[in-house]
């Protein structure tokens, strides 16, 4: 796929996206709403594959998109790798990885991918709304912008991977099975590959249902990230939190 191809130039039959997600069966989540919203796309052929994590039964409303239930506490990116390995990816232009605790704006997928395509953002995320839990202020919505070309994309709650970028960042490096630290590695790797990353401010998602890292020890997460980053060339925060170009 060409980096700067406007969505309108692509035949609609060729536009396919795969949504991968994991929802917590035993915790309050927004999976049903999220899956419904993503399935409303008019411009993309969307396949959704989700895993239910926990001991409760898979809700009927989610059964059709749920591949299986996982009762053991398996780290997120190990599960995502398993899902990716079991799925022929050739027909998909984009993979969207989505958490189960977000609120997406109406029309999200079409609006988001239209911007992603227009600006040629190979790995990208929607900005977080102002009322979200914010780990990195850099990804909070910048009012007045449509999108920005950056050197940083978070590992969640929502991010997209274009087909050519999949070759660079997949499979996920299981030395950091929860994904801590990927975001500082991706910026360097994508840049080396000549691919653009970005944040779409026009379609911010709310991430306010559950506090991130609440399920885990922050220190353990940080130790895991530092250990991972020692093994992989990466950007510092100062380098990563930088806008190469902004679009309004």
């Amino acid at each position: 796929m060409q980096a700067e191809t406007p969505a309108s130039d692509l035949p609609s039959a060729n536009k396919a996206a795969l949504v991968l997600g994991i929802y917590l069966l035993d915790r309050l989540n927004t999976a049903e709403m999220t899956i419904e919203e993503l399935g409303r796309s008019r411009e993309w052929s969307v396949d959704q594959q989700w895993l239910g994590l926990g001991s409760s039964a898979v809700p009927d409303a989610l059964a059709a998109v749920t591949l299986r239930k996982v009762e053991d506490r398996v780290p997120k990116f190990i599960l995502l790798n398993q899902m990716l390995a079991a799925t022929p990816l050739g027909k998909y232009d984009y993979i969207i990885v989505c958490d189960d605790d977000v609120h997406l704006p109406s029309g999200f997928l079409d609006d988001y991918l239209r911007v992603v395509e227009h600006y040629g953002l190979a790995v990208c995320q929607p900005a977080r709304t102002h009322d979200s839990y914010i780990d990195h202020p850099f990804v909070e919505q910048l009012d007045g912008l449509t999108a920005r070309w950056t050197q940083f994309v978070e590992i969640g709650p929502v991010f997209s991977i274009r087909r050519d970028a999949a070759k660079v960042i997949l499979p996920f490096d299981e030395r950091s099975p929860m994904g801590w630290g990927y975001d500082f590695v991706w910026g360097r790797d994508l840049c080396e590959a000549g691919l653009k990353m970005g944040v779409v401010d026009a379609t911010p998602v709310a991430h306010s249902l559950r506090k991130p890292v609440a399920e885990y020890s922050w220190h353990a997460a940080n130790d895991q990230m530092q250990s991972f980053l020692r093994a992989r060339p990466h950007l510092s925060k100062r380098e990563a939190f930088f806008i190469i170009e902004s679009y309004a």
Binding site: H130, P137, D143, G144, F242, I243, S246
Partner: protein, 334 residues
């Protein structure tokens, strides 16, 4: 300016970035940019980031006309306010020192050199620098501008500290202050809720939790070139008051309640509200007389000056309280 590789990455950042947000003031922006062309610091050591906050005038053309003389980056955003524009600007630069400037000020040729010198003297990331902003000679004798800077201190108030003092969060005044980019990246950026007013002090308050300090350098000079008229200044204070109220709701600590003056506004506003229009009318009238006398070459007598200052003080105090009250009403209605 930063040197960049073909993928846009910064290979070696310059030492300091002047970040200017602007909105429909191309006539003021041009002399401001001209003043930056006369810096004693070589252009290889600095860059200018212009964030156009949705201007509909010829701001873009004015900035473009400086691309050959200044290491300048222009970025446009739909109108979103000062805090968003400044955050946008700080992310556009990789320079370790960020100097936030107003579009209606003029930079002294040594401005960037002085900010850099103080940062070198205080290399710890927690130290920021406050520069000095006098009035331009053509507005220095304006009765209102003199009052708000030297007497009532509604705009700047440099009279109670001296060069080299290390000050607290209340002194990180937007438009004339610099800081380490790394400190913002680590501890916080401007809150986009603030469209005008408090965006600087509110951020500094959050940064103060991480030992943020402000060093005053009186030789880091920007000159205020724009005269603000009476009604313009009242409007400004109403907006400032609204922001004060928002600030006071975001942070309930006593220091913030005191700084925002929200802790005692209700009683004061209750007394002032019935006569608000009359207070402003009276001050506006005296302001006109003072200007007329000045224009005709007559000096104000001491008693007239005292009366004018009392009127200014009452009007500006009332305008700010009105803004706080507006904020409260809006808050109570949500």
């Amino acid at each position: 300016m930063h040197s960049r590789d073909p993928l846009g990455r910064v290979a070696s950042p310059c030492a300091i970035a002047a970040v200017v947000s602007t909105y429909n003031r191309s006539d003021l922006l041009r002399p401001m940019l001209e003043s930056l062309t006369r810096q004693t610091v070589p252009t290889s050591e600095f860059e200018v980031i212009i964030v156009d906050d949705g201007s509909t005038d010829d701001t873009r053309n004015v900035v473009t006309s400086f691309t050959k003389t200044l290491p300048i980056t222009y970025a446009y955003q739909r109108n979103a306010g000062l805090a968003s524009a400044r955050t946008h600007g700080l992310y556009l630069s990789a320079a370790p020192i960020l100097l936030f400037l107003d579009d209606d000020d003029l930079a002294h040729p040594e401005l960037l050199k002085q900010h850099l010198a103080t940062h070198r003297q205080y290399p710890d990331d927690k130290y920021a620098v406050l520069g000095y902003t006098p009035l331009a000679p053509d507005i220095a004798d304006d009765p209102l501008m003199h009052f708000v800077t030297e007497v009532g201190c509604f705009l700047f108030s440099y009279s109670y500290f001296k060069d080299g003092d290390v000050l607290d969060f209340e002194h990180w005044w937007g438009g004339r202050s610099s800081c380490k980019r790394a400190f913002l990246i680590e501890h916080g950026v401007f809150n986009p809720v603030f469209k005008f007013g408090c965006e600087d002090i509110e951020l500094a308050w959050r940064l103060s939790k991480h030992e943020f300090r402000v060093v005053y350098n009186a030789r880091a000079i920007t000159t205020m070139s724009r005269r603000i008229d009476f009604d313009g200044f009242c409007n400004r204070l109403v907006r400032q008051g609204r922001s004060n109220f928002v600030f006071s709701r975001l942070h309930r600590e006593p220091e913030v309640q005191r700084w925002t003056e929200v802790d005692r506004f209700e009683e004061q506003w209750r007394k002032i509200e019935p006569t608000y229009d009359a207070i402003l009318h009276s001050a506006r009238h005296l302001d006109r007389i003072a200007r007329l006398k000045r224009d005709l070459g007559f000096a104000l007598e001491e008693s007239e000056t005292a009366l004018l200052h009392r009127a200014y003080f009452a009007a500006f105090r009332a305008a700010k309280l009105r803004g706080i009250s507006d904020g409260w009403t809006q808050f109570a209605g949500t």
